[in-house]
């Protein structure tokens, strides 16, 4: 399991773990709680090249579909086959077995635009205070 404190986050609740140019992507614990009951995951095709912020994966609950955005630009190098077979893994281990895909970052510096864990927690508090839903 990744330590959430070692991850970078998007406002749309994706997390990125970056080691050199090797990135792993999933959704945050907050996001999986909000979505609840993930019943379908369509990961991006391996080999696809995406830009930072591009929708490239779909996570669906009973009620709704959620687009997942690429946290950095790069090439998709792996998709998690386990979450396709057992989508509940996203709920059970969002920072662990519930990861969605791996990306080879073309410009890893883009990650600096993302929030660190402390900033993400502040962002969640601010969102809750605004009563957004």
């Amino acid at each position: 399991m990744f330590d959430p404190k070692s991850l970078r986050f998007m406002k749309s609740h994706e997390w990125l773990r970056l080691e050199g140019d090797a990135g792993t992507v999933g959704i945050s614990d907050h996001a999986q709680k909000e979505i609840t009951d993930v019943v379908f995951v369509e990961p991006p095709k391996v080999g696809r090249v995406v830009k930072q912020g591009e929708a490239c994966c779909v996570v669906e609950s009973v009620k709704a579909a959620f687009d997942i955005y690429a946290p950095v630009s790069g090439e998709i190098v792996a998709a998690n086959a386990d979450v396709v077979k057992d989508p509940a893994l996203v709920n059970g281990g969002p920072y662990d077995k519930g990861w969605l895909f791996k990306i080879k970052a073309s410009s890893p510096a883009e990650a600096s635009k993302l929030m660190d864990h402390a900033a993400y927690e502040q962002f969640l508090l601010a969102e809750a205070a605004h009563g957004s839903h």
Binding site: T36, D37, F40, E60, V62, K63, V84
Partner: protein, 372 residues
């Protein structure tokens, strides 16, 4: 359609908040879409029991010497077949054969009936009733603001209601009774919207919270859960029940909705009879048809259904079926006589997902006898 009126809350709003309910706007009502998880709530109803706040539903009382004649005129089903203590599911047709609303009519006495109507259509229905009651000795009372409603659904529903209302256990399926609860006149029907055994409590607003808490306290030890609108929708769709406004409206007829059994032509005249009689004899050009995905995916309302490579219609209700672990949906297809097993496809996120035509209901509870 947009509405500018402030959202309404049922008497159970605070109870839902305390139980962690996630509140959404449903046709102008603030109601919980889920408490813990739609899948868990769905599973509780299929396996044990679930409690639903359905206080948004409306109640219209019809009384007078012409009560039956009036109800026969506005209903497609034969209200004369239910005597005191029985209820029946019915449609209110318009002159074109379209449907004003789908309702449950309970006979309380031979000159006194209770009609439970949908929330979003309650005012429309009442205006429709008043218009068609002219010249008849019938009194109409819209008591929707006075009553709340709690549904207890699932194979253990009878055990859950046993302590609060032991007499309700004697009700047959589609039985209806009037009784005092906490000293106030109330009603219980053995009906529901889940495809399981169950009871619906129609009680004055001032005791809804006590009824809900009593049932929940009794139910918890039997594995019952409070359930939201999310599970209500997945349960009703699996059971093949219609959602007015999605699957049924003023433009689609009872026969087109594949509910021809509701239309009783031998009962005499009623609004829309000519159109419905012709549709029963000559068939329909479009029919509400069940579709089940053969691949992974979650179909949504609005998704196109392809048959032999051509779009035959769009889904009007669709979801992931927790019981079948597959995507299911219904839509009006312009191929009204498709056999179960016919290959089809549903377009999801721009991709054609393999599917097949299936018989509705998608699921029949082993706890409930067929046809009950």
């Amino acid at each position: 359609m947009t509405t500018t009126t402030a959202p309404r809350r049922t008497a159970l709003y605070q109870s839902h908040k305390l139980l962690g309910g996630k509140i959404v706007d449903f046709h102008g009502w603030e109601l919980p879409v889920q408490f813990e998880s739609i899948l868990k709530e769905h599973g509780a109803v299929r396996g044990r029991c679930g409690l639903f706040d359905v206080s948004h539903m409306g109640q219209v009382f019809v009384t007078g010497s012409d009560a039956l004649a009036f109800l026969q005129k506005v209903n497609a089903n034969d209200i004369s077949r239910i005597g005191p203590g029985k209820a029946v599911y019915s449609h209110l047709p318009n002159e074109k054969g379209g449907v004003v609303d789908d309702v449950i009519v309970s006979c309380l006495a031979k000159d006194r009936y209770l009609v439970v109507v949908n929330a979003a259509t309650a005012d429309k229905d009442f205006a429709w009733f008043k218009n068609h009651a002219r010249g008849l000795d019938v009194s109409l009372e819209n008591k929707s603001d006075f009553f709340g409603m709690v549904a207890v659904q699932g194979p253990k529903a009878a055990e859950v209601v046993m302590f609060l209302a032991p007499k309700a256990l004697a009700l047959p399926r589609f039985g209806a009774m009037e009784l005092m609860l906490y000293g106030l006149p109330s009603f219980i029907t053995r009906t529901g919207y889940t495809g399981e055994d169950g009871f619906e409590f129609i009680v004055p607003n001032e005791i809804v919270v006590r009824v809900w808490e009593d049932l929940l306290a009794q139910g918890r030890s039997l594995g019952a859960k409070p359930c939201g609108l999310g599970a209500r929708d997945t349960l009703r769709l699996e059971a093949g029940y219609l959602l007015y406004g999605e699957d049924l409206d003023d433009e689609h007829s009872t026969c087109e909705a594949n509910y021809g059994w509701v239309v009783k032509l031998d009962k005499g005249d009623f609004i829309g009879r000519d159109v419905l009689a012709r549709q029963k004899k000559e068939g329909v050009r479009r029919r509400l048809t069940g579709v089940r995905l053969l691949e992974r995916g979650v179909p949504r309302s609005g998704a196109a259904v392809l048959v032999e490579g051509r779009e035959a219609g769009k889904l009007c209700s669709a979801t992931y079926s927790p019981t079948l672990a597959a995507g299911i949906g219904v839509g009006y297809l312009d191929r009204p006589d498709l056999a179960a097993g016919t290959k089809a496809a549903v377009v999801l996120h721009g991709r054609e997902v393999q599917a097949e035509i299936v018989k509705v209901p998608f699921y029949q509870s082993p706890h409930l006898k067929k046809g009950a």
